[in-house]
Symmetry: C2
Subunit: 671 residues, 2 copies
């Protein structure tokens, strides 16, 4: 690569891009860790994007109508941090770059959205940013349709690497974006032909432009170091009525001895080589020093959007006060008071009608009253709409000619669905919920973990949550999935027992502003157990007494979901034999753990024998069987200790011994 | 669709295909559950494949050189069961079809490989079969190169639906097959334009032929009901030097009132409509009755390969006795005695040299002695070869011009890698192991669960297994993953403490024949703790006493992996204060659970206080803290209660309080 030719062809551009390259080298060297090559390769694309196209104002990182910039190749985090520092974001003084990858810094190894306002999403697990961007772009389309182009009209720009494009989730994202003609989504592919193991062709020879075209994208191929070509390509991409992919031929670690090699992917810390690279760039200042003129040029870019922001504010002020309030409320993530009201009314009605329905059906009943009063909900399903029961009549289907539609047919793409939901939640103004079979949380898992880490309030509607699914067999029957989800930090896992708890769970899930929720719902019918109406949301306590012992309390049965009714039947058997038995429903462990010890002890007092019942594996239950101070002597578990089988649900419950009789027998054995 | 025209154009073909359609309708109706439409749509393709191309002998379901037939669209299981019954597989009498989806039947809702020899893989979670097939085809290439074309020379045929192609894992599989020119892989795409939610275009408009071409595939598009076109396409596919995709335009639920609708995807049980469909087929016999001539024609097809099998036996007999023995041993999955010998020798050497190395490095040291004596191992990495340490010098890299290579550069495709490993293991003759960062078990998760369900002995080498990964931050730091894996039935999770336990874990993992293993390995160095050589594999017990208390035993510290050394340091602190402390290393919970109660009680006697230490979440540990009969009064846990952070590893251990001092303090608080 002839660096001199690049420098002399576009000297002003060059010096700005060189600032990114020099800061990257300095920060990675200071940390002695990180990834130098990608920011050095993509500095030109990023510089042109920020200088000429990206709508942003460094003084207004939360401007709702800013363009979103998503670094899907998150290991190149110094590209983002350099840009945020150079353009003058207050949260990114030079000290943050000096502390790259250190405890307490905003400049984590990979971008983490919760550390700074200007970081749109958390990336690093490859492909996630690209898949998030589909949700960002869908959210923009929806909000534009709902609130008008005057206040919502922005692009979503993504930098994706070869790794992003190899991950399967990229295909799900690309296909969705193509299907929905998300024309304001523009993806730069950092086509540097290098992965950690070596040349890309070691593992891949995909014709990526052809692949994107097959999904309905507008595709361009350019020299990623030519600022004029970059500018022209972005201009063309913005004009296209399709999502756009710009294949940028770049040199990883441009100008460094490790250029175009897999070594260039990682941390370049050799002092002599750094000096040589900086010399080639014409960079003469010391570490972390940016010449004043270059910094000033970048800061001018940082405020380039200031007048646009002012104009936007004026247009926003032109909305009615009610619409302004609604817009702001929706972006805050706060739910309206109406939510509690409609849930209470529904509970009252259901506690009287006492339907015998599956909790997935109960979920639909809740959504039918919630969706009309929460315009921010967007539902969906991974091609199981009629099974997940996530589509209510008022939503309308999101499509090219119906951007107001609030239901997304995601196709058979659980991972892309979950990632896009995260994108919607991160964009703001939308509360996404979508469903699949509980067993296929496996497919959505990488994005579900990121929901928890990123503190989005994404809602997963996971139906067919046990062997109760029946004939489809063990590939479709979750047994370990509740444990897996409960083990994940910052995730509320709701497994409601009946129609009332389901409505309560929905109210709680929708009220979260920094925690995702999973609703674990049955395929099979369950009776209404909460037949006495209470305004109070009992599920909010996480666990509570569903039925008290008659006379002396000798046993406590703990259960969740469809097994609460079975525990109630077991209680009847035991009480008939004079064994006083309390039944505790535990719809949400995490909320119960958050209660004061006094409340937990009131629900689960020491003394009686304890039997837990859940049609899943035991892992996790020992905590409740052991009791608050590890003093429970006598406890047992009724559930699964292996995979399920293909047969009718009733047969499976019988064969796997999850029955009232088996529970009663365990209690008696312990007494 | 003009059924009469189809019937009259190819009457003999038609009646055989009609048998599949009629049996499908009957079985689904009897079960009142299942998926009728796909077998009815793909019956023509399957009939031509089995009649004219598939190399098989129904009397020899385990013939090693049979062609593999993989139903990736597993919900269409009645297609497979019908074919197995019609062609005369002994395990599939008509009673099995009558018991479709019932307890104890081989005809589970979705095909399950462990229920019958002739079921090659377990499908249902979409895309998995297609991704397995890459491993099947790679295994065939490898074994052909190793044992010669005389005894290994077969095709892998796959039926994939729209759902398979929407799942992201399909892209990983397609790209891998294209990259490696797996020309003996032939995929039929059931292009019926229907998913559960409606027309495919609701969620997808991908040009699939173009997409496959972009990945380097040979692509044909045919009428999937025209037997001559099907035959010609398969012939052309076999001649291609690339993997081949045949897009078969079909009508789901052909000839039924629900044809070409999403209703046709599910269970078609209406008696009148069934009768009408059968009448259209010219099918006049009762339920589950196949006219004798048609059954005879199918049984002739079933033995079509008998002479080929005999010829194969003769060629196999032409191998030297040693090679025959080796071939048979490898297909059996049994390891040679040499394995134990080389592991013992390595342990002896390491217990003397006592290196201070990461367990990922220890894993490499083990592989360096194992790979030369186990020619069936095939290693790999999802683009982290130098980090996972899975490539040893003797393996060679699998490539188009080196089919003897035993290392696969999978690219950034954890899911495709895991699925392909399952395919290799199911094919037989190969013991696959491959690595990525432990955190990205999330991406591989759907296939890892299937390893456990399918009873393959796939080995996952998951390195960088805690916050010890350091600066890359929480997106790369597993905290809940050990719990997730341990919650999964039939999965051995090894977290070795040092170089010796790592070697022992490898011996155990490789010796499994029906259970997958995950090796959880550190990035950071750990000291050799097992400094006294023992021939016996102590890890085989799952947990054992690493260091005994001096004097009265007041405390037991339980730990795994890198935390065992920290527990040893805590023990030193406690012993210095006169508190007798035992340290128990627990490298494999599952193996410990399988021990007699007496052994478990010897390792973890009641009495002393217990503190568990692991740089992950607590979930699961309460089981060991509670003790055998729930009698442990005093116990505590040192580990993570949330996500990690980006900083150097030592800082993180300090900040998150996983230190010898913290452990000692907890013990003293309990005493």
């Amino acid at each position: 690569m002839d660096i001199d030719a690049l420098r002399s062809a576009h000297p002003e551009h060059w010096s700005k891009a060189a600032a990114i390259r020099a800061l990257t080298l300095d920060a990675v060297a200071a940390a002695n860790s990180g990834h130098s090559g990608m920011p050095m390769g993509m500095a030109d694309v990023a510089t042109v994007l920020f200088e000429k196209h990206l709508k942003f104002d460094a003084a207004q990182p939360s401007w709702p109508d800013r363009d979103r910039f998503i670094l899907s190749a998150g290991h190149g985090s110094m590209l983002l941090y350099s840009l945020l520092h150079l353009t003058g974001y207050e949260q990114f003084p030079i000290e943050e770059l000096r502390n790259f990858r250190q405890w307490g810094a905003r400049t984590a190894g990979h971008p983490e959205n919760f550390l700074a306002e200007a970081i749109e999403t958390t990336t690093g697990p490859l492909g996630q940013g690209l898949a998030n961007s589909v949700g960002f772009a869908m959210a923009e389309e929806m909000l534009r349709a709902q609130f008008s182009k005057k206040v919502v009209d922005h692009h979503t720009y993504v930098i994706a690497g070869d790794g992003c494009l190899m991950e399967g989730v990229s295909q799900e994202a690309i296909a969705l974006a193509g299907r929905h003609e998300l024309s304001k989504l523009i993806v730069f592919w950092d086509n540097n032909n290098i992965t950690i193991d070596g040349k890309v062709e070691l593992s891949d020879r995909t014709d990526q432009p052809m692949r994107f075209k097959s999904a309905g994208w507008h595709v361009q191929e350019i020299d990623g170091h030519d600022p004029e070509a970059i500018d022209a390509a972005i201009t063309a991409a913005k004009q296209s009525n399709k999502p756009s992919m710009i294949a940028c031929k770049t040199h990883i670690a441009l100008g460094h001895a490790a250029q175009d090699t897999s070594k260039g992917h990682g941390a370049l810390t050799n002092a002599d080589q750094m000096a040589a690279a900086k010399a080639a760039y014409g960079w003469t200042t010391g570490p972390f020093e940016v010449p004043a003129d270059i910094k000033a040029a970048w800061e001018t870019i940082g405020r380039r959007g200031a007048s646009e922001y002012t104009e936007w504010q004026e247009r926003f002020a032109g909305l009615s006060e009610r619409r302004q309030g609604e817009f702001n409320r929706r972006l805050s993530g706060e739910v309206p008071n109406k939510l509690a009201a409609v849930v209470r009314a529904l509970k009252k009605q259901l506690s009287e009608s006492q339907p015998n329905v599956a909790t997935r059906k109960a979920s639909e009943m809740a959504l039918e009253v919630i969706n009309p009063v929460l315009e921010e909900t967007v539902g969906g399903s991974a091609d199981l709409t009629g099974s997940n029961n996530t589509l209510t009549p008022d939503l309308g289907v999101f499509d090219i000619d119906n951007r107001k539609g609030r239901f997304v047919h995601w196709g058979i793409r659980e991972h892309g669905m979950a990632s896009a939901m995260n994108g919607m939640a991160l964009h703001g103004g939308i509360k996404p919920y979508s469903g699949t079979f509980m067993c296929f949380t496996d497919y959505a898992r990488p994005a579900m973990r990121l929901s928890a880490l990123m503190r989005t309030s994404t809602i997963y509607v996971m139906t067919h949550d046990s062997i109760g699914l029946g004939e489809d067999g063990p590939t479709h029957q979750p047994v370990e999935h509740l444990a897996m989800l409960r083990a994940t930090p910052n995730m509320l896992v709701f497994r409601p027992a009946d129609v009332i708890e389901t409505a309560e769970a929905w109210e709680l899930a929708l009220s979260q502003t920094g925690t995702p929720s999973t609703l674990s719902l049955t395929r099979q019918n369950v009776p209404t157990l909460r037949t006495e109406h209470k305004n109070k949301n009992l599920t909010a306590q996480g666990a509570y007494v569903m039925a008290e012992a008659t006379g002396k309390r000798q046993a406590i049965l703990m259960a969740t979901g469809s097994e609460v009714a079975i525990a109630m039947d077991a209680r009847a058997l035991l009480e008939a034999e004079g064994i006083g038995t309390r039944v505790v429903s535990m719809p949400c462990w995490e909320l119960f753990e958050a209660q004061d010890e006094a409340i937990r002890k009131r629900v689960l007092p020491a003394g009686p024998v304890r039997v837990a019942v859940e049609a899943g594996v035991r892992m996790g239950w020992d905590k409740w069987l052991m009791g608050e101070r590890g003093r429970e002597a006598k406890a047992d578990f009724v559930g699964m200790d292996g995979f399920g089988a293909s047969a009718p649900a009733e047969t499976l419950y019988e064969k796997f011994g999850i029955t009232a009789e088996a529970i009663a027998a365990k209690v008696k054995a312990l007494l």
